[in-house]
Symmetry: C2
Subunit: 356 residues, 2 copies
């Protein structure tokens, strides 16, 4: 795609380091425990070895990127909450009072809060300005954004990922904020999956059944008006996506291009990951799914991305909270592979331990 070429991004991911993945598997097999008994944690550490080319892999500098934006489609009554909550929550992120703020502090992660197009700009020195406009246009009346707006947020995401790479970040967890953004994520996902919108539409932050049905109808109308091209993720993002979703797509593509593992959060981040995966082949091998969200469409996206989530805590908050909680498990996996003794080193008969 042209945007990819202009940014110097290949449409293939860099090859994983298969040899280091093999070394990680071999190292697990020699740690003092029954084979495979650390379950998904073993897979996560092998994946990080394959991505980073190091065995054991390390996580020294995690970052959390939270992108926020508003959505013109809220005029159709698709959210239970007033749109100004996006701005209010962005300021709450910056002031340190939101769930993702607490979790990022606990993880000692750098947090980057990005305004990709909130209606009223949240004014705070710690919020990065990458505004493409004062919210998207109402997608039931035409495209959500212009080509220029789309390029602006894709570029911004790619540049932020590049900056994080230069600063030594070794894993990025993604989050988002935007009243109305489950509607955009459902629309994008419906097009890319070829499924009817209702299958990918849920209550978001608190719609009742009638509200969910209405939301799906609004999405169907937007798809009829825009006719996005399912074979062109950028066309889909531009017509029925959101600024923060496109920004995160840019983050993912540039992070993976630079061999950084990316932890995705819930439904909205997964819709960005789905877009990115259609633009760069092999991309999902660089992704980890932090959790399974309670938002019903998330299962469909996880299946399409072929990702197994680390957590299933019935969370549905967004902001990157599921990804940030799961960061600890990924760090545990890496610390276990690095820190556990081998059978010979510990004088344990192979294979020992476990629920035996």
């Amino acid at each position: 795609m042209r945007w990819m070429q202009e940014k110097g991004l290949s449409c293939r991911t860099p090859s994983p380091y298969d040899e280091e993945a093999g070394r990680a598997r071999h190292r697990w097999a020699n740690r003092t425990k029954p084979p495979g008994s650390l379950g998904i944690l073993e897979d996560a550490a092998v994946q990080l070895a394959a991505i980073s080319g190091r065995c054991p892999p390390e996580i020294r500098r995690p970052a959390v990127v939270v992108a926020g934006a508003d959505h013109g489609v809220v005029a159709e009554g698709v959210s239970a909450f007033p749109a100004d909550v996006t701005r209010q929550m962005m300021l709450n992120f910056a002031a340190g009072g939101a769930a993702i703020s607490v979790l990022a502090r606990r993880r000692q992660a750098d947090i980057r809060i990005v305004d990709a197009g909130v209606t009223r700009p949240p004014d705070h020195p710690d919020i990065i300005d990458c505004r493409a406009g004062a919210g998207t246009a109402n997608m039931t009346r035409g495209a959500a954004m212009t080509r220029e707006q789309l390029a602006h947020v894709l570029d911004g995401g790619a540049e932020l990922a590049g900056a994080l790479v230069r600063e030594g970040t070794d894993i990025i967890a993604l989050g988002e904020m935007g009243i109305g953004n489950t509607t955009a994520a459902s629309a994008v996902s419906a097009v890319l999956s070829g499924r009817p919108p209702l299958q990918l539409t849920g209550p978001g932050a608190g719609l009742d059944d009638a509200g969910v049905k209405h939301k799906a109808e609004v999405i169907s109308r937007a798809l009829a008006v825009n006719r996005p091209d399912a074979g062109d993720p950028l066309d889909v993002l531009r017509k029925v996506g959101g600024f923060e979703i496109a920004f995160l797509t840019g983050v993912i593509l540039a992070a993976v291009h630079n061999r950084l593992p990316v932890v995705i959060d819930g439904f909205i981040c997964s819709s960005a990951a789905l877009c990115a995966s259609r633009m760069m082949s092999g991309l999902t091998s660089y992704l980890l799914a932090g959790h399974r969200s309670a938002e019903p469409g998330h299962d469909v996206l996880l299946d399409m991305l072929d990702l197994q989530p680390l957590l299933d805590l019935q969370m549905r908050l967004g902001e990157g909270t599921g990804a940030a909680v799961s960061l600890t498990l990924i760090e545990d996996a890496v610390a276990l592979l690095a820190g556990m003794a081998s059978f010979s080193g510990a004088g344990v008969s192979e294979s020992g331990g476990g629920e035996s």
Copy 2:
């Protein structure tokens, strides 16, 4: 029961602080997020408020207790691994090279490693001696232990829990080690659940299908020989249990008596929790299930205990690893309840944020 009376333990748990639980629910409702959107983490923090009588609750000093012992029933060929691995792994715990060692360090948790009756004593200054013998007797020939041996390990567990309470521990995660101990845990669970042994028997550290069937047959034989009284958990523990399982039962009873929350690990710890829950009514409200083990009988025990596990990572290592990994999530829950801003404090319209 007489042992309970002698130890000054009531057969009812102390009443939870319902008022503090209500305050915790109210506090969650005022944090800047859609209601209920932190899922199971919200429940965990409410539970800790109810147990500790503080809102928000705190976790300042977590402890991990790992009890190890050997099992005479291994003479029947019920484990894929040589029995000396119990001793070897106990030394590995003490030397800091096992998975639970790495995780306890990462959690900054006190770790107490207890020899409840390993065949050859693991000689290390950091291993607590609470030996009831050189492994249990073979339960297919008679009772696994004497009344005196049972009392010794129950007492030891209760005393360790009491000591941890005095040292300011505010949550205890449990773990175990013992080649052959899934056989004992399956036998105990079969009696207390009234189910056929095969339903509660799994591969442990690595049996194949034929091995699992043989193990279930061994258990059936042990039950026929011993005829444990399903209404008397101490009779069940004595006849077909294990020293470490009884020790952990003592830890749980005394911890809960002292209002400490207890995080249980996999199948074996859950069998101890089931025993304890039959001796002290209301006990399960003081328990958290760290994870769902891949050992197939664990689901049955979690159902009987009415506990929802925090993690489902396909782990089946034991040692307390599932409980230790989940400790972070419990600490996250507590930190979020304490550290998140309220709607009014952050200037956010109620209710805001979320996948909206």
